[in-house]
């Protein structure tokens, strides 16, 4: 009985033919097996066909540099016309505190936020800023996970990263 190339072998061979430890075995087998050689031919032909057709579609929908520049101009005008109305760091922290208090209690919420804040700030800074907000949320999420479980940590992470924070 002839041992044909398995799907797992094909996957490894096609994705990284140079790096695969079994490459030589696959090549040796194909040298003497017409059916596997045909499979390889059809898979490679399909891969090339997909790449060619996808490239053709990308060309059809391509737009010119001048159109992109016009779009960019409109986008920048919108950014200037509608400055982002985000939350201040203080407001955002209060919001998170209100969110976690029912889960872990008032005292623990305050202590956990304080701990996450200390861990997120360099020694030279005293207050959180919009730049340190992401680290603060990660630290608070980790702390909440260890105190109240992974679901609480995920909730904090999602809520924290959904809040648009700005200076002021």
């Amino acid at each position: 009985m002839q041992n044909h190339i398995t799907d797992a072998d094909w996957l490894r061979f096609l994705d990284a033919p140079g790096d695969c430890a079994d490459t030589q075995r696959v090549r040796d087998h194909m040298a003497g097996c017409v059916s596997c050689a045909k499979v390889l031919e059809s898979l490679e032909s399909m891969r090339e066909g997909l790449a060619t057709e996808a490239g053709r579609i990308r060309n059809v929908v391509a737009i010119s540099d001048s159109e992109i520049d016009a779009l960019l101009g409109r986008c920048l005008a919108q950014i200037e016309a509608r400055p982002h109305a985000g939350w201040s760091v203080g407001e955002a922290t209060l919001l998170l505190r209100l969110l976690i208090e029912p889960i872990c209690g008032r005292g623990t919420a305050g202590a956990t936020i304080g701990l996450a804040r200390r861990r997120s700030l360099p020694t030279t800074e005293e207050d959180l800023t919009s730049k340190s907000w992401s680290i603060f949320i990660s630290n608070l999420s980790d702390a909440m996970s260890s105190i109240c479980g992974a679901a609480a940590g995920r909730l904090v992470r999602r809520a924290g990263f959904s809040i648009a924070v700005q200076e002021g």
Partner: protein, 177 residues
């Protein structure tokens, strides 16, 4: 000349300002417009949605620190913008229907793009395979980026792509040039 995409992404994440945003916009907006066009949106709608997405990118850039996660994050925003648009417009929208938008594939075959052989191949695949194949071939995402975006392990994504290719190879023969 358009700046290389990875470089533009990195510069923007390190220093999100109007200058780096401009470079990023020039590098990725054409791809986003193509994403929407290929999924059945008209040119004007594709441009509007791309603009919406790029505004969100500008405003939320502070939350992203790892340039390697930028593309999966970006494409999540891209997909959500389309879903929101479809929901907002309910039945009024004619180009894309919600179920198809969720699957990342246009319901109406009215766009001239869809006469391409690629569309025939994609039509042969199941929804999840089609989505992954589109991300791989049209949007040119790496396996790990697709995995991050669709929430599957990288190995599963590789398997799905391989199986889809195998299925297509057994059914179709690509036209020679």
């Amino acid at each position: 000349m358009r700046q290389a995409e990875p470089e533009a992404i990195e510069r923007f994440i390190l220093n999100p300002c109007e200058e780096t945003f401009g470079d990023l916009f020039r590098a990725i907006a054409p791809r986003l417009i193509a994403w929407y066009r290929v999924r059945g949106c008209g040119k004007e709608l594709s441009e509007d949605l791309t603009q919406e997405v790029m505004l969100a990118v500008f405003r939320q850039a502070g939350h992203l620190r790892n340039p390697g996660l930028f593309r999966p994050w970006l494409y999540r925003i891209v997909k959500n913008a389309l879903l929101q648009h479809v929901r907002r417009n309910g039945r009024r929208i004619e180009t894309v229907e919600l179920k198809s938008a969720e699957a990342g594939w246009p319901a109406k075959q009215s766009d001239p793009l869809l006469s391409a052989q690629f569309a025939e191949w994609m039509g042969f695949l199941g929804e999840d395979e089609r989505e992954i194949m589109m991300l791989r071939y049209i949007d040119e995402l790496e396996y790990h980026e697709i995995a991050e975006l669709v929430g599957l392990p990288q190995g599963t994504v590789q398997w799905k792509i391989f199986n889809a290719k195998k299925k297509l190879a057994a059914r179709f023969k690509p036209r020679s040039e």
